[in-house]
């Protein structure tokens, strides 16, 4: 039997809410899928849109972006700025043909350990079903003669 | 089968010396000893040093060809490649392509006095030729080195400067820009062109080798002219941006000259024939 495909998930999370939330998941001993690699950034405002593209081009099959709920930003408005950016970037991703089912956005507070586990599980399951995301990685070889 | 001219030698960093803020010297040994034995270069030549993953950067070979078994390079942390190089440790591997370019004509200088004028981070290209000349001391008559930097901390090769200062077969004049001195500074204070003017070396039977930031060169050349140096007796070395070092990529092209092939060493007479695109 062929080995089951295990997706590589990359999560870009803010330091103050989602990272703390993910920490809580662990300390609460909630089990969730281990496919995710968490990259901690100070704030969702710091999550450059190109990081999502970079994650895909370097081999991620799915990306999670998560930060503080609106009004909860440690820096007051970083997540509001991020939200605007995602609203535009997400549409653009779709427009250039990137499968949006592979990109998950969420707000997860420091108290929502269970939500983090559920989000990772859901996103990972969805990507597992979609299979490896070869299309983007293959692009890097197209054009080198 | 012809060689892949873009394939670098692999070099191991044998030693690292911090010269000045942001300025380091690597002593490099060939990872493949056989390549090292076959490797030859002449003073004035340069190479392309690569930090794998970041790219290649051009600097001169700062050691003398008379010192076998290794090469040295000195660089200032400025861009993508040099910052990556600056992060390397002893034992790390970097790439090196070379030697490329023309050479200082030591044979032609036999029996002459030499005066070296250098500023700041431009001593490394001259260091190679200074050591080369010192190692062939009886070829030349008087050897003088004038070296200046912005401040005492910015002087590179501090230990060697000390050693040169103690030698009686050469004269070393160090200077720092006004305000750059420290209480225990025993050298001169003033800009290099001015110090050269004070020193007033005789132009008769003398070759001047000048290397430094553009402004220093610009102001030193008239001083040398006034002292009577002919345009064929003043040498300098250019550092245009390069990608290949092989006379192909076109970056260093200035006038009909490819700095990587026809240079980097130019006499003032040759330089004046080029457009000022360097």
């Amino acid at each position: 039997m062929a080995e089951q495909f295990e997706p590589k998930m990359t999560a870009f999370v803010c330091n103050w809410c989602t990272y703390a939330g993910a920490d809580l998941t662990g300390t609460s001993r909630i089990k969730y899928q281990s496919n995710v690699r968490v990259i901690r950034l100070p704030c969702t405002g710091r999550i450059d849109f190109m990081m999502v593209m970079k994650a895909f081009s370097r081999g991620s099959d799915g990306v999670i972006v998560s930060g503080c709920h609106p009004n909860d930003c440690h820096y007051t408005s970083g997540n509001y700025h991020a939200r605007r950016r995602w609203m535009v970037f997400r549409d653009l991703l779709d427009f250039v043909g990137i499968d949006l089912r592979r990109v998950t956005f969420s707000w997860i507070s420091a108290a929502e350990g269970a939500k983090w586990a559920e989000l990772v599980n859901q996103a990972t399951n969805a990507v597992r079903e979609l299979g490896p995301y070869k299309e983007i990685q293959q692009l890097a070889a197209v054009g080198i003669d | 089968m012809e060689q892949n001219i873009y394939k670098p030698y692999l070099m191991r960093i044998a030693a690292i010396t911090d010269e000045a803020p942001g300025v380091r010297t690597f002593r490099l040994e060939f990872a493949d000893a056989k390549e090292g034995e076959a490797f030859q270069f002449k003073t004035g030549q340069f190479g392309l040093y690569s930090a794998f993953g970041e790219g290649e950067s051009t600097f001169c070979i700062a050691s003398s060809p008379t010192r076998k078994g290794y090469i040295e390079c000195t660089f200032r942390e400025t861009g993508r490649v040099t910052s990556s190089l600056a992060d390397k440790d002893v034992g790390d591997t970097i790439g090196f392509r070379g030697p490329y370019g023309n050479v200082f004509p030591l044979e032609k200088w036999k029996g002459k006095n030499l005066i070296f004028v250098a500023g700041g981070i431009a001593l490394p290209p001259l260091r190679s030729v200074i050591w080369n000349c010192l190692d062939l001391r009886d070829w030349f008559k008087d050897i003088t080195v004038v070296y200046g930097a912005r401040g005492v901390n910015d002087l590179v090769y501090k230990h060697e400067l000390e050693a040169w200062g103690k030698r009686d077969d050469m004269k070393l004049v160090t200077t720092v820009d006004p305000g750059g001195e420290k209480p225990d500074w025993t050298g001169k204070v003033g800009f290099v062109p001015h110090i050269v003017e004070q020193l007033a070396p005789a132009a008769m039977n003398t070759v001047a080798i000048v290397c430094g930031p553009p402004i220093m060169i610009k102001l030193t050349l008239p001083v040398l002219a006034k002292l009577g140096f002919g345009k064929d007796e003043v040498y300098t070395t250019l550092e245009n941006r390069m990608k290949c070092g092989l006379g192909k990529c076109g970056r260093c092209n200035t006038g009909r000259s490819y700095v990587c092939k026809d240079g980097p060493v130019y006499t003032l007479a040759e330089l004046e024939k080029l457009p000022a695109e360097y």
Binding site: R58 | I5, Y6, N240, R241, C244, G247, G250, R251, E277
Partner: protein, 334 residues
């Protein structure tokens, strides 16, 4: 050596079909939605026999991105993997004579001192079949740079159209001969006085030698600023040019391995000569425009005894602000 044959239209098609069936990569001008492109050909019907492609056929021997070095990290060590030059047998079929001629201008740079095996291997494995131009446009000026619309220089086979249909094939090299062997049946002896479709008329507008001499004294002329005011400083001209040879070398790597890639570059781009320190020897667009002109029309002839331009006019057609090289050179040659 030069042998002449007649090839009928049918013979022409069967030659292309025969080539396509081999291992060879058959490249040539093809009519695309947005103009002629150099692409892999499948049949003779696809070939655009007239008009200039947008991007030149330079990529056949000097591709826009090519791997020079490949490496892997092994702890503190680095291992270099051997990169073999691409030696796929290739036919550039149906190109314009200027494209064929342009390979020489690349050759002189890739071989004047150090030998570039990447270029040389590709060139050695490429057979060039050109078709004489019977049409030209306002941007063409091959006759001003020592060429003509039916120039055979650089071609292994030159095809010239017959009024009655079919071609006269002038087989110029052994490579050409070998290719023709693929379609022996298609070859007939040439007519005694071939009734060729006349080659395109391209009136000479300047004398290249005179231009070179003029340039010697025009370096500081205000002309360059005047001409380049509208220049946007992009690299379109260089990237479509069949003779522009300047390149960059760029590393692309992840944490385990990397490639050192050669990519096309352009002297018109500000970053071309810019140092990491911020110093830029050619800081102004006018200086960069002048470099482009001088490199091709003064430094090249001086250094490599050939002009770095074949007069194809691709740069002028590609320019978003209509920098017409022919016109600018005519001004400079005055």
């Amino acid at each position: 050596m030069s042998e002449k044959y007649t090839v009928s239209e049918v013979g022409f098609s069967s030659l292309v079909d025969a080539m396509v069936k081999t291992e060879m990569r058959v490249l040539g001008p093809r009519e695309g939605a947005e103009g002629i492109e150099i692409a892999e050909l499948k049949s003779a019907a696809e070939i655009a026999k007239e008009g200039q492609s947008i991007v030149s056929a330079k990529g056949t021997v000097f591709p826009k991105v090519e791997r020079l070095v490949k490496y892997r990290y092994e702890g503190k060590n680095v291992a270099l993997d051997d990169v073999q030059p691409n030696a796929v047998p290739t036919v550039l079929f149906g190109a314009r004579p200027c494209e064929a001629r342009a390979f020489h201008a690349l050759d002189v740079v890739f071989n004047w001192d150090y030998k570039d095996i990447f270029f040389n291997t590709r060139l050695a494995n490429t057979t060039v079949v050109a078709i004489s131009c019977t049409q030209a446009d306002d941007a063409c000026f091959c006759t001003s740079v020592g060429s003509r619309p039916d120039d055979s220089a650089g071609s292994d086979i030159l095809l010239s159209r017959l009024k009655s249909g079919g071609y006269v094939a002038e087989v110029l090299t052994d490579k050409g001969k070998a290719l023709m062997a693929l379609a022996k049946d298609a070859l007939q002896p040439p007519p005694v006085s071939p009734d060729l479709v006349p080659a395109a008329t391209v009136a000479p507008v300047f004398d290249a030698k005179a231009l070179e001499q003029k340039l010697a004294s025009k370096f500081d002329s205000p002309l360059w600023l005047e001409q380049s005011l509208r220049c946007l400083g992009c690299g379109a001209c260089a990237y479509v040019c069949p003779t522009c040879v300047c390149f960059s070398i760029e590393d692309e790597a992840d944490t385990r391995q990397g490639d050192r890639l050669r990519t096309w570059d352009s002297c018109g781009l500000r970053l071309f000569t810019s140092h990491a320190s911020g110093h830029n020897p050619r800081d102004k667009q006018s200086q960069r425009w002048r470099q482009r002109v001088y490199h091709k029309f003064a430094y090249y002839p001086d250094r490599f005894k050939t002009i770095g331009c074949v007069g194809c006019g691709k740069c002028s057609r590609a320019c978003p602000v209509d920098m017409n090289l022919k016109q600018h050179l005519t001004e400079a040659a005055r």
